[in-house]
Symmetry: C2
Subunit: 228 residues, 2 copies
Amino acid sequence: MKKNQTFGTSNKSARRPSGATAGREATRLAKEQKILQAAEEVFAEVGFAGATTSAIACKAGLPKANVHYYFRTKEDLIHAVLENILTLWLDSADVIVETADPAEALSSYIRSKIEYSRDRPNASKVFASEILHGAPYLEGFLRNQLKDRVDFKTGVIKKWIERGLMDPVPPEHLFFLIWSATQTYADFDCQVAAVLGRRKKPKPEDFDQAAEFITNIVLKGCGIKSGK
Amino acid sequence: MKKNQTFGTSNKSARRPSGATAGREATRLAKEQKILQAAEEVFAEVGFAGATTSAIACKAGLPKANVHYYFRTKEDLIHAVLENILTLWLDSADVIVETADPAEALSSYIRSKIEYSRDRPNASKVFASEILHGAPYLEGFLRNQLKDRVDFKTGVIKKWIERGLMDPVPPEHLFFLIWSATQTYADFDCQVAAVLGRRKKPKPEDFDQAAEFITNIVLKGCGIKSGK
DNA sequence: GTCTATAGCGCGATAGAC
DNA sequence: GTCTATCGCGCTATAGAC
């Protein structure tokens, strides 16, 4: 049972030697995607330990053994799900560069994080659940890829501060606030729904209001001039 | 939560007639507390489904059957843990009343939420994990006790807004932001630690800096005059 | 490549000795 | 009240027929 491995090493499409036709390849990929999507839902609903491969197979419309054929173990499966998520996640944050206008960059970042919570709540929940429970598998990701990205972005914030574009806030904590404030609309959606008096999930306009509110409070709270 | 096969609402200290059993009573309560504490740790580490009663018993220093004697099922046990947590939680937020100074009340609230994250991270994690996974058991709590409290507090915020003490922000979303921004230092502590370059857990001064930053951004972001 | 049938194990819960 | 010993279930994972 190996834990602390790093990302980016396993490329699936390169490893099948047989003379498979393009059609079979497509079928295989389609099934893999079906399984991954079902797995994301099930892991989000009941967590890693609570998830059963048979529930995942059922939701994907396949027999259980098929799941184990494509992803040998349950651990392999959640790793694949997380890899999917993290790739999306990291790519969504490239608006924060030194030459950008701070108000526009942060607004855009917050807006896209909220949209992410609205459109892919399960992805957010799977990630949250793993982090919550100490996520030995994610340790490497957090301390390498994520830390590097954040170090770069905190550098941008510091430049903005030096140039007098915003107040001297601790940049890491600013990111913690933006991440948590936006992700809570996915991770804790049932709490949000309960407090707002929604039946089951928050409504689309709740997400809009959230984006507007978080943007306002961050911009004004950091002393950033709105717009340009 | 029921203890014995005896039915009904058994209050612990009220139902034993003889004073001679006080020593036994104390032993029983001590063991219950031991189990609850161990359960909180284990649930926080691996979630409800991942937790095993034998792991809890082991951490509490008791045989497994003893755990089942005090708390018949694993579900009874997590309900007891959550009840413990929720009581603490709700009581911590009574500083927000209309006659208070907004800056002082919100500062104090944020400070106590952060201290809570620092001192009882496991409690926060157990709650978060349940909410994350839809928490059917907590549905009632969220829609009744919590909603009532929040309705009352949003009323206070609205009064402050009417009196021109702060900007017109959507009060529910303000609470979502405060909750998420403070709880993230408990729930996602390993992410915070990784980004801040800490070895395992965030350091005490990280929590202090968090409290100061969140307070500043909330007060300034809501247009509240600091201090009085 | 796919699926049925099952091995093998660890779990929650309990019976019953003390 | 306490704990040992165990039962029965449901899980992950796989062997082996198609």
